[in-house]
């Protein structure tokens, strides 16, 4: 029986797809009759089924050899586009994470969007994401991964634009779509360029090819850089990080998914591409550089935010930056572990902060405070999330960071320092948010803030339980290092960096310093608070130049190209007018003209035959 579920595991994306298609019934006309809720419950059920199927199949495939399935899609000329599917414990594990976080987020959404009328659209889009991510986990081909990433880009556009009558939402959706699309298209260039070199897009075969490939270094570098552009967009890496922060205009339940698993799609593809990227050392260095900039910059910017959702979103960018560093350092296992521990921890953080936002009716950290006594469950969940995210033993984040740090400790001390710094900064950032929300005295906005109903609180506490149990799960899956080989120095330094970050933040924000805290250099504070002015830089550079060029082209089109044509038209019109006066209206003159014409034509036609001159000679 279990084997049956394992063999049909490749159909798991169909559950959410079915939910999505069925909720379309509620889009136009049924909603006024039944209300929008049935669409949500339907999707919830479908997600539950997907999760259950995934769990059984995961159990069945545990410690089994992976199965490969090929589904023919398109064969044309020399191009063979068959969908390769890998059913293994890794892919099913990913599916399990995706579907369970989805399940929790969807239950959360039932409570969170209680009054919303757009359930059908919202749940249909969540289902699209779920299906896309499950498919991405199963899919073993770069081409189809690209296809899925592109479709999810469209999904992001629609999901962020969910509350479409607010102008910030509209610009956020636009920026998300375009930034991700830029990444996707550069990835497409890489996809196009890779095939003539490797002759395949299957990750398995690409890895085998990369072992022995003899590619021109410049080509390898260019292709590799193109390939990391897609994940850069998806993972909100510098300089394509702008969208994740603006995406916070969307509903919180979608933020839970976006910050945890959706951004991980890019990282997933990046890890699978690692053997190809390794063809060029430059590409690996670039990945590390991008990751480091984003990780350090993201944590710093996060500390400067006053909006709790934005503070957490920059942390997501930062942790994805750490995944980039891991891939750049060729530590794929650490990267996988980092994705997993980050996903569950950050979704818990978003859930608990969202549960505060929901009935404090503000996202502004400066208006919050003193919630610890009123919201102990949310507060505890938040603390569990903090402990799970940053490297605090014995929870998940510690082990993933340790695996990474262990790998770079000896050979690349600079990266190790960066990682420790990022960890300390992240600890500072999450502790700061905690103190601002839960510490101190209540403020007007937080005076009345009871815990939410079970629909919001239960998923949050379940997830908190999971974060707490993650080390046990990792232990069972034997993903934790042995005590004997554990590098105790590294573990100690790592723990110290977390603790110092936390305690510094507690000192600063519990302490007597006047709030809100002003840095001695206002310019620096603004630089961080406004995200390095990225949106303004884009506005001036890329957006501005496209705008200017398009206006120029339009002007040229109107006045030069079309103007020339109209001038010719005008000239011929005048010519016609002038000729008109040559017509007298007398029959004789017409006959004369016709006769002359006939003579001319006859002459021309006989000319060639008479002189026996073929024009072919001339040609």
């Amino acid at each position: 029986m279990e084997q049956f579920f394992a063999q049909t595991a490749w159909l798991i994306p169909s559950y959410p797809l079915m939910g999505m298609v069925l909720s379309m019934l509620w889009l136009p006309s049924i909603t006024p009759l039944t209300g929008p809720r049935p669409a949500g419950y339907l999707n919830l059920g479908m997600t539950g089924l997907a999760c259950l199927h995934g769990a059984i199949a995961f159990h069945a495939t545990w410690q089994q050899a992976p199965q490969y399935i090929a589904i023919p899609w398109l064969q044309i000329a020399e191009l063979d586009l068959t969908i390769p599917i890998e059913v293994s414990s890794i892919t099913l594990g990913a599916i399990l994470v995706v579907t369970s976080i989805n399940l929790l987020a969807q239950i959360y959404a039932v409570g969170y969007l209680e009054m919303d009328w757009g359930w059908a659209r919202f749940y249909a889009l969540l289902a699209l994401f779920e299906a896309g991510m499950c498919a991405l986990a199963l899919c073993d081909s770069l081409f189809f991964s690209y296809v899925i990433l592109e479709i999810l880009t469209l999904g992001t556009y629609l999901l962020i634009g969910f509350w479409l009558n607010q102008s910030l939402v509209v610009t956020g959706a636009r920026d998300a779509f375009l930034t991700k699309r830029v990444g996707d298209l550069v990835l497409l260039m890489g996809v196009l360029a890779l095939y003539p070199l490797a002759g395949t897009w299957d990750f398995q075969e690409l890895a085998i090819w990369a072992e022995t490939a003899n590619v021109n270094p410049t080509t390898a570098t260019l292709v590799g850089l193109a390939l990391i552009a897609g994940p850069m967009g998806k993972c909100a890496q510098f300089p394509l990080h702008l969208w994740l922060d603006e995406a916070m205009e969307g509903p919180v339940p979608s933020t839970i998914l976006r910050n945890s698993v959706v951004v991980a799609t890019g990282a997933w593809v990046l890890i699978k591409l690692e053997p190809v990227l390794a063809l060029s050392p430059t590409v690996l260095s670039v990945a590390i550089a991008i990751g480091s900039i984003t990780a350090v910059g993201g944590t710093l910017i996060s500390i400067a935010q006053v909006d709790v959702k934005r503070a957490l979103s920059y942390l997501t960018s930062a942790y994805m930056g750490i995944v980039f560093i891991a891939v750049g350092a060729q530590l794929s296992n650490a990267a996988f572990l980092m994705i997993l521990t980050h996903a569950v921890a950050i979704s818990l953080l978003v859930m608990s902060s969202g549960s505060i936002v929901l009935n404090s009716i503000t996202q502004d950290l400066t208006q919050m405070g003193g919630l610890w006594r009123r919201r102990p469950v949310s507060g505890l969940s938040y603390l569990v999330g903090v402990a799970g995210l940053i490297a605090l033993p014995p929870l998940g984040g510690f082990w993933s960071m340790l695996a990474l740090l262990d790998g770079v400790w000896r050979d690349r001390p600079i990266i190790a320092v960066i990682l420790l710094l990022v960890n300390a900064l992240a600890a500072f950032a999450v502790t700061r948010v905690f103190v601002l929300m839960f510490g101190g005295q209540p403020k007007p906005m937080t005076e009345r803030s009871p815990e939410n109903g079970w629909l919001v609180t239960l998923p949050m506490t379940i997830l908190a339980g999971f974060v707490l149990h993650l080390p046990l799960v990792l232990q069972t899956l034997s993903l934790l290092p042995d005590w004997a080989v554990l590098n105790k120095d590294v573990a100690l330094v790592l723990t110290w960096s977390s603790l110092s970050g936390c305690s510094l933040a507690a000192l600063v924000y519990y302490g007597p310093i006047a709030k809100p805290i002003r840095l001695p250099w206002q310019a620096l504070q603004n630089l961080l608070a406004y995200d390095f002015y990225t949106s303004r830089i884009y506005g001036v550079s890329v957006v501005g130049s496209v705008d200017r060029i398009s206006r120029l082209v339009d002007w040229g089109d109107r006045y030069l190209v079309d103007g020339l044509v109209n001038m010719v038209g005008l000239a011929s019109l005048f010519g016609g007018e002038a000729l008109k006066y040559g017509n007298s209206g007398k029959t004789q003159s017409y006959v004369l003209t016709i006769a002359l014409g006939i003579i001319l034509i006859t002459l021309l036609m006989t000319w060639s035959s008479l002189t026996n001159l073929s024009l072919v000679i001339g040609g």
């Binding site: 196009l192 339009d554 190209v561």
Partner: protein
Amino acid sequence: MLSTLIWLPFLGAIALACLPASISSKQIRWLTLWLTGGILLWSLSLLLQFDLHTPTLQMQEYLPWLDSLGLNYQLGVDGLSITLVILNSFLTWIAVFSSAEHVERPRLFYSLMLICSGGVAGAFLAQNLLLFFLFYELELVPFYLLISIWGGERRNYAATKFLIYTALSGALILIGFLGLVWLTGASSFAYSAVVGQSLPMLSQLILLGILLVGFGIKVPLVPFHTWLPDTYTAASTPTAILLGGILAKLGAYGIFRFGLGLFPDAWSVLAPGLATWAAISVLYGAMAAIAQTDIKRMVAYSSVGHMGYILLGGAALTTLSMVGAVSQMVAHGLILAILFHLVGLVELKVGTRELNVLNGLMNPIRGLPTISALLVLGGMASAGIPGLAGFIAEFLIFQGSYTVFPIQTLLCVVGTGLTAVYFVILLNRTCFGKLDNAIAYFPKVEWGERVPALILAWIIFLLGVQPSWLVRWSESTTTAMVSMVSPSTTPMITITTAMQSTEALMIPKN
């Protein structure tokens, strides 16, 4: 039989014209709908008889006509034209469907649409240069009338511009054909008689250049495109669907059939230039579209960009890129049809096409939610989002041409990015945003108005997830066309070396 596709619309047009004046516009519309539906079914039945593995002409028909002139009635269909013939029948049906229930002078209107359909079918099927030319010129007059009688603002200016441009295009094509037959001394204008000629390279280049400009006007390619935005914008929705969906494809088809087919050697000499021209067209069209504030004009400019991909596919001349180019003709026809239909509906219901006035149409209660949702789908299909028909065609072109012209291909990929930019502008301004309640008293969208868009959306989606139904028809014909080019020319060398290096790299793997 192929003749049915030509003569049934003509007979239908005559019959419609003879109807008594008492018959209402609505009844005539239904009658035409049945007739064009029948033609569509007939053309679909051709698919059943079509042999996928034969690269040459199939279902040929021959009737001597003016043999002394070299003009005979010769029809045939191959992988290049079969999908276009079906696209023609289908879009005619859709165009009739999307016509308003009450039009002025209905008998003339629907007769002209039928004549257009028959004429275009004839041009796709004709296997005689003069016969092709006759059909090519034949649809000029009905289109002129359709634009100038039923068009919108500035219709007379647009119609005249269209007439002049198209007449010029026809004249150039005639010069090209006459020159070809004259120089080769062929016995007739039959396609089979002139194919495989061996003219000196210079004459080939000149003739090909003339044909390229002639067909380039029709496609249209930058800088011969300025009739297009005016004409498409001034034309009524059904006319715009026919113009953009089918007539433009006639130009692209002509470039492939008569440019590439008759002058393969000159083609491969010009190929790098053509690819660059294609990239310029793509970028120019996209850039011009971004600056538009009229949504119909924006869609019209999108067409300029998208036709550039077809030329790129042809210039690269690999089987893959050619298959992609033929598929792109079909996919673009479908996508343009849905966009024109929806834009027409928005104009009809809201009363404006101005981006600065439109807002918030996605509003589920007082806006046009279904139309907006379909507009998102159409725009995204045009921007090449996977899962929709536009993507696979563009992807095949890109993959096929990358090995031959990498720079131009990458520029065209940038063009798809710019396509996304203007469609996001369009969607953000029309569908998203806050609907002004004061003006939001739009007439109800009838089911009959939604159906054409729903059908098109369904087909665009279906061909996107099951692309082999779109691409497989042209494979054997395009393979034959590619192999026609002598392997000594430059593009082929690049391909073979690329293939060899690929093979060399793949050997250690085994």
